[in-house]
C-alpha cells in the first residue's frame, strides 16, 4: 500500500489543488469538509493534466510534480467547457 502522505503534504496538496482549480475554494461559513472521494477525484484530474498515473493519492511523484515550473493560471476553469473527445471504440 502506498505510504500515507504526511499531514503537511496533505495540507500543501490541498492548497495546491485549490489554487489551480481542482478543489473549490474553502468557505468559512459552510466549513464544508472535502469528502475523501472529492479529494481523490481532484487528485486524479490533476494527475491526468500532469501525465501521471491516476492513482487518486498524493504519492511522492504527485507531490514532486506540484513543485515543477508551470503557468500561474488554474487548470480547471469554473465555467470552462471541458471538451472530452469521445474515442470511438473499434470493435
Amino acid at each position: 500500500a502506498a505510504e500515507e502522505p504526511s499531514a503537511q503534504d496533505v495540507s500543501l496538496g490541498v492548497d495546491w489543488l485549490t489554487r489551480y482549480g481542482y478543489l473549490p475554494p474553502p468557505h468559512p461559513a459552510q466549513a464544508q469538509l472535502q469528502s475523501p472521494a472529492k479529494l481523490r477525484d481532484a487528485i486524479k484530474v490533476m494527475q491526468r493534466f500532469a501525465g501521471l498515473p491516476e492513482t487518486g493519492v498524493l504519492d511522492p511523484a504527485t507531490m514532486a510534480t506540484m513543485h515543477r515550473p508551470r503557468c500561474s493560471l488554474p487548470d480547471v476553469l469554473g465555467a470552462a467547457e471541458l471538451v472530452r473527445r469521445r474515442r470511438r471504440r473499434r470493435r
Binding site: 489551480y20 491526468r48 493534466f49 500532469a50 501525465g51 510534480t65 513543485h67 515543477r68 515550473p69 508551470r70 503557468c71 500561474s72 493560471l73 488554474p74 487548470d75 480547471v76 476553469l77 465555467a79 470552462a80 467547457e81 471541458l82 471538451v83
Partner: protein, 417 residues
C-alpha cells in the same frame, strides 16, 4: 483542450512589449522577435493577425507584455525562480484582458542547447493561447499543458499540435484555406523552383556575392536579405547562407513590377511586419511575399518630390524609420504614420558612418550595421558612434566568403564621414 468562455470579436490584435527582462541575455530585439513568432504561431492556424504598435500609439494595445516580479498589481504574484513562470488574461473588454506577464526572476533563454533556463518562445506560445481564450489542456502534445515541458524547437518550424489547433478553431473558426490568403509565418518561404530554362537559352550570369556593392540589405524576420540587381541572397539567423546561388527577385516578391530592375533599399516595418522595397521615388509594400496595393511615393515618408533613397532602416531604440540619401537623412514616425519635423539632417550625426551607404540594417543582436562596397560599419545597440574597428570586410562575416587576404591588394574601405 478547454475553452475559457471568452474570445476576441476582432481578428486583428495589437501588441507591445511594455517591459523587458532586466537580467536576461536576450536582447530587446530578440524578445520582440520571439513574441512576434509566438503570436504568429497562433495566427497561421486561425487567420488572426497581430500588429506590434510603438509606445507612441494613441490606443492601448490589446496584448501588453510585461516582465514583472513578485506582487505586480494583479492576483497572481510570482514566486521567484521556478514555480510559477508566467500567466495571461483571457480575452475581454477589461483593460487587462489579453495582457501577458512573465516572471522576471526566471532565466529566460532562447534555443539553449543544454536545457538551461526557461525557453521564452515555448512559454510565450502557451501564454498567448490563454490571451486568445484557451484554458489548460491535458492532451500529451499540447502546448497548453500547465507544466513547462522545455523548449519546443525552432520558432520558424514550430507548429501547434492538433489539440491546440482544434481548440483555437473552436474559438476563431478554421483558417482560410485558399492559397492566397493562407498566411505564412515561417521566414518567407522559398520561391517555387524556376521553370527549366529552354536548353538553348543562356543561363543568366549571376553576380558574385563576395564582391559586395549590394543595392539593398534588410533584416526580415531575423533573416538578412542581400539584394543585387534582379537577385538576392538570404542568411538565416544562425548565420547560415541559405544558398550560394542567389534567388530571383521577381519570382519571390510576387507582384513586384518587371520594370523595377534594382531595389535601392529595403526594410521590415516593425508595426505590422510588412516589407517595404524602395526603387526610384517609390516604394512597394509586401505582406509576407505578396504585394499589397499600388506603389507609394517617397513623399509620403517626408522626402521631397523626385528624391530617392540609398538606405532605409527602423531603429528599435525609438521605433523611428531613417531614410538616407547621400550625406543627409530624414526620419519617419512609424507609429504616428507621419514624417518627423526638422529633417533632413546631416548624416555625420551617425559618427563614422559612410556617406550614401548601400543600405543599413539592425541585426538580431540589436546592433546597427551600415554597409558600403565590400565593408560594414558597426554601431553597438543604441549607439550612434561607429565601433572603433569599423569598417570591416563584410564577405567573410556575412556571406560565407573566404577571409580577406590582408596586404596591399586587399580592397580598401571607402572613406567614412
Amino acid at each position: 483542450y478547454a475553452l475559457s468562455g471568452s474570445v476576441w470579436k476582432k481578428r486583428t490584435l495589437t501588441w507591445r512589449v511594455h517591459s523587458f527582462p532586466k537580467s536576461s541575455a536576450l536582447s530587446q530585439e530578440m524578445v520582440r522577435t520571439l513574441m512576434h513568432h509566438a503570436l504568429t504561431t497562433w495566427g497561421v492556424e486561425s487567420g488572426l493577425k497581430f500588429q506590434e504598435v510603438g509606445s507612441q500609439s494613441p490606443a492601448e494595445p490589446d496584448i501588453i507584455i510585461d516582465f514583472a516580479r513578485a506582487y505586480h498589481q494583479d492576483s497572481y504574484p510570482f514566486d521567484g525562480q521556478g514555480g510559477t513562470l508566467a500567466h495571461a488574461f483571457f480575452p475581454g473588454e477589461h483593460s487587462i484582458s489579453g495582457d501577458t506577464h512573465f516572471d522576471d526572476e526566471e532565466v529566460w533563454t532562447y534555443g539553449s542547447k543544454d536545457g538551461e533556463g526557461t525557453d521564452l518562445f515555448a512559454v510565450a506560445v502557451h501564454e498567448f493561447g490563454h490571451a486568445l481564450g484557451l484554458g489548460h489542456s491535458s492532451a500529451p502534445d499540447s502546448i497548453m499543458r500547465p507544466f513547462y515541458q522545455g523548449p519546443v524547437g525552432d520558432p520558424h518550424k514550430y507548429r501547434l499540435s492538433q489539440d491546440d489547433r482544434e481548440g483555437l478553431q473552436q474559438l476563431y473558426g478554421k483558417v482560410p484555406q485558399t492559397p492566397y490568403d493562407k498566411p505564412t509565418r515561417k521566414p518567407l518561404a522559398p520561391p517555387p523552383p524556376p521553370p527549366a530554362l529552354p536548353p538553348d537559352s543562356p543561363s543568366l550570369p549571376t553576380p558574385d556575392r563576395c564582391e559586395g556593392n549590394f543595392d539593398a540589405i534588410a533584416n526580415i524576420r531575423g533573416e538578412t536579405f542581400f539584394f543585387k540587381g534582379p537577385w538576392f541572397w538570404r542568411v538565416q539567423p544562425s548565420g547560415q547562407l541559405v544558398s550560394p546561388r542567389p534567388a530571383r527577385l521577381h519570382r519571390f516578391w510576387e507582384g513586384l513590377p518587371a520594370r523595377v530592375r534594382v531595389v535601392q533599399a529595403a526594410y521590415a516595418r516593425p508595426s505590422d511586419g510588412c516589407i517595404l522595397l524602395f526603387s526610384g521615388p517609390q516604394f512597394w509594400v509586401f505582406r509576407d511575399r505578396q504585394l499589397e496595393g499600388a506603389p507609394r511615393p517617397l513623399t509620403e515618408l517626408g522626402l521631397p518630390a523626385g528624391e530617392e533613397v540609398d538606405a532605409v532602416f527602423s531603429w528599435p531604440q525609438n521605433g523611428k524609420t531613417y531614410l538616407i540619401r547621400g550625406r543627409r537623412y530624414w526620419r519617419y514616425d512609424d507609429a504616428a504614420r507621419r514624417p518627423d519635423p526638422g529633417y533632413p539632417r546631416d548624416l555625420s550625426l551617425w559618427e563614422g558612418a559612410p556617406p550614401a551607404p548601400d543600405d543599413v540594417t539592425v541585426g538580431n543582436t540589436g546592433d546597427t550595421y551600415f554597409f558600403k562596397g565590400a565593408h560594414y560599419w558597426r554601431f553597438l545597440k543604441g549607439s550612434v558612434k561607429a565601433e572603433s574597428d569599423s569598417p570591416q570586410p563584410m564577405g567573410h562575416k556575412w556571406l560565407d566568403c573566404p577571409a580577406p587576404s590582408a596586404g596591399p591588394h586587399a580592397p580598401r574601405p571607402p572613406k567614412a564621414t
